[in-house]
Symmetry: C2
Subunit: 247 residues, 2 copies
DNA sequence: CGTATCGTTGATACCTGTCAATCTTGGTGG
DNA sequence: CCACCAAGATTGACAGGTATCAACGATACG
């Protein structure tokens, strides 16, 4: 799908009502200090598959994910692709202090972003060191999880990668659920934000291998595929043990 | 090799004479401001193979690499290992703002470190925002190169990985050479800081595969192995083209 | 209802891992 | 000085996991 340089709607949404107000880096600001950000903020919507920026675009935007999922990817000259990061609500999007983006960014689902002009955003970072510090800590956590994923890419088998991925998605979906929504112990269920091809690009596998392992997990009753995108984890313990050791 | 909790010599070295003074994060401080760091600094030596900290150690040390190479790695329960980062002079070592290390750190060669107690180092970061900013920018660069390496782990073939690794080592060695040392155009030559097994753990391959590809590169006259650890790149262009596309 | 996209399944090939033997190198001690 | 040994590196034979190529099925959409 094609990118549009000037994406769609621009809502005037108040920070006080923002669903990620208390989880994103702006949580270190009080409502007054938050004006520094809200003054330069623009909300934008992207539809599934829409490019947010491309590899060699100038890095003139910085954003916070409000809803949906964004995939960061890199490509080799011959088209092989690797997804190097998945971003969910409250995560930050964009490379501060660089003139160039180093990755592609694409909406994996429909996405709502809180966007800032990068230059102005960096001015805010300078004026509000506590925001820069929050962004720094988030970056350190990103680096930790990126390194964790390197172990999967370099050392895990296909089925271990699949199990690790499904666990990761399962945990991520728990975070966004309100605990009061699930009073009783149910089986973890979530909607995959990626197609089979994207999962393959995330795991360093092919579509066919991903599909085959979905089938294996299904026939072994570890998961149930409710509609191809919706996964119910029927045996969380099995999935967890598969993530680190061969079955 | 075993770790020693209190590594060896503690030199009293002046920052002014430090070989990484103008490349590490302390370069943003003038000689006066540098006292904040030098007051809490201790130089330590580690021999090749010595553990600097282990996976579940408390993160009570932060350091700058002065000489040598450090490998950061992660392990799976069954012993499979993945090197997630290589650190060279002027690079930073240690996880700020975390109580726990998330990786192993081991001296890949004999190493000299400029060590700080983490808590005191974080105090310096608080008092000198320009140092925290420098560390933040270094962390962003780390994240960029980590993501770049994910592409290699997930999507490149063994020979592409080998070529990428050798190019990376070649470029890194150029950085540490004084330009005046090599007035004439010579073939790039460098000493590998890693054993075959460590290279395998970095590339997500086995020792045997690494060794076979070294042999292939040698018989194709792309590289020359001077003594097993010392590599002369006889055909840099071929190496560069191998790094991204199958031969 | 045709078409496009995505996903599944099958047959086969090949790259890399595994297992094992041999070679090289460096260090140690008789 | 040389024999011996340990660790690392190389090479070979073989197996297996994943990629590749291809066909088919499912779903959504106009």
């Amino acid at each position: 799908m094609k990118a549009s340089n000037l994406p769609e709607t621009s809502l005037d949404r108040r920070c006080e009502n923002c669903p990620v107000r208390h989880h994103a880096i702006c949580s270190v600001l009080d409502n007054h200090g938050c004006h520094a950000l809200s003054d330069i903020m623009v909300h934008k919507h992207f539809v599934r598959g829409q490019q947010i920026w491309s590899d060699d675009d100038d890095a003139h935007v910085f954003a916070i994910v409000i809803s949906g999922a964004v995939k960061l990817s890199k490509m080799l000259a011959d088209g092989r692709q690797q997804i190097v990061g998945l971003l969910f609500p409250s995560d930050c999007l964009g490379r501060a202090y660089s003139e160039k983006q180093q990755t592609f960014a694409e909406a994996a689902t429909d996405v709502e972003l809180c966007c800032f002009p990068r230059q102005k955003f960096e001015d805010v970072l300078k004026q509000h060191p506590e925001v820069e510090h929050a962004l720094f800590e988030k970056t350190l956590i990103d680096l930790d999880s990126t390194r964790e994923w390197m172990v999967a890419l370099g050392r895990k088998t296909a089925s271990e990668k699949m199990a690790s991925f499904l666990l990761q998605m399962s945990h991520r979906s728990e975070l966004t659920k309100c605990p009061y929504d699930r009073p009783a112990p149910e089986l973890p269920t979530f909607v995959l934000p990626l197609t089979r091809g994207e999962i393959a690009d995330y795991l360093g596998l092919t579509i066919e291998t991903v599909s085959r392992h979905f089938t294996t997990l299904r026939v072994n009753d570890v998961i149930r595929l409710i509609d191809g995108q919706t996964v119910e984890v029927r045996d969380p313990a099995a999935l967890a043990s598969m993530a680190e050791a061969k079955d």
